[in-house]
């Protein structure tokens, strides 16, 4: 039986194609590693403590839950609570940020001919941020900022306001896009 020896060359045999494949796989891996979990569990919202919560490090990931006692943040080895009674104001806002973290930032710098900049166009996401102003037992003003997946901050704000937290700006729940189209 005659064997066909044509087209035995692998499509990734050239060094450029191999480098490209490696870069794409690295990019995908970093996106998977850094993209926050957008699932909203019944127990709380996955988010990140940006700053301000006593005893919790900055940029610490954890779960935010609203309980009768207040807003709880549970992270790996760190926990913080803000009592509802101490909350002076609650704000929500949106921002965009680059995904991929430091790994992708370094990788983008290494891509020749400005390819990293092109990647930056596609590696960003919108996030919600929840800002709380609260006072401690001595009357000292504190501020805490949390970031979370889009649409979650308003839900948490509504839960806090329902429990009695003061908010100078009324709660605006995110509108459903399907409803807008109809």
């Amino acid at each position: 039986m005659p064997t066909v020896l044509e087209n035995t060359r692998s499509p990734i045999s050239s060094p450029l194609a191999a480098a490209l494949l490696l870069f794409i796989s690295l990019f995908c891996a970093s996106l998977y590693a850094e993209t926050p979990d957008t699932t909203t569990a019944a127990s709380g919202v996955r988010g990140m403590h940006v700053l301000g919560l006593e005893g919790v490090k900055r940029n610490h990931h954890g779960t935010l839950t609203v309980q009768p006692s207040g807003l709880n943040f549970d992270g790996k080895g760190a926990r913080g609570v803000i009592a509802v009674a101490s909350i002076q104001d609650v704000f929500t806002s949106q921002d965009t940020r680059q995904t991929g973290g430091k790994v992708l930032t370094v990788a983008k710098m290494g891509v020749p001919y400005g390819g990293g900049r092109v990647l930056s166009l596609f590696s960003h996401e919108k996030v919600d941020s929840l800002t709380l102003e609260y006072r401690d037992a001595n009357g000292a003003l504190h501020g805490a900022i949390f970031s979370m997946p889009l649409g979650q901050a308003a839900v948490l704000k509504k839960q806090l306001v329902d429990l009695g937290a003061h908010a100078s700006i009324p709660v605006e729940m995110p509108t459903d896009k399907k409803d807008d189209k109809q």
Partner: protein
């Protein structure tokens, strides 16, 4: 005469050596004495004053929290108090730090990453540090910017760092000297 000439370098070295040593000791002691004097102050930080809608609340709180952290880090002050802290009411040598927003430009991290020249986030405040009697000790415009890498909130960290540096470099008089100047 020959003997005198040979002794000249030795004599010069004998005079210059102790003089140099004295200078080094003095230069070492002056900053210490100055630091001891400024450390007699405590400081209370007030949040940024801005017209409604001019500064987003997350940026306002980030400036406030970052500044508290930076001031505590420098160790320049005996205590760093938050706004409204009742413990600060009884502190005798208290400075109050006020910030008024001058300019805020919200940039875009993606724009920064793509263009490298556009999308910078800038926060500029007018800084005023005064004693309890109203005597102003430091007054300056300070800006924090994030130009290339980092999220928009990094501008608040840069601003807080610049304010802490401004206070460190400012020649704050001691509490007694400030009181005398105020009278």
């Amino acid at each position: 005469m020959k003997q005198n000439r040979s002794l000249l370098p030795v004599t010069l070295a004998g005079i210059a050596g102790p003089a140099l040593l004295l200078c080094i000791i003095c230069l070492g002691l002056i900053p210490r004495a100055f630091a001891a004097d400024t450390a007699a102050w405590s400081i209370q930080v007030e949040p940024v004053q801005a017209e409604e809608g001019q500064l987003p609340p997350d940026f306002s709180m980030a400036v406030y929290e970052d500044l508290l952290a930076q001031l505590a880090k420098t160790g320049q002050f005996q205590q760093v108090y938050r706004s409204g802290d009742h413990q600060a009411d009884s502190v005798p040598n208290l400075l109050i730090l006020h910030m008024t927003l001058l300019n805020f430009e919200r940039g875009n991290q993606t724009e920064r990453a793509v263009t490298t020249v556009k999308g910078a986030t800038k926060v500029q405040v007018h800084l005023k540090v005064s004693a309890r009697d109203g005597n102003t000790l430091v007054e300056k415009d300070v800006q924090g910017t994030v130009r290339l890498f980092g999220e928009n909130l990094k501008a608040t960290y840069a601003l807080a760092k610049h304010i802490a540096e401004t206070l460190r470099d400012a020649s704050l008089p001691g509490p007694t000297a400030a009181k005398a100047a105020g009278q």
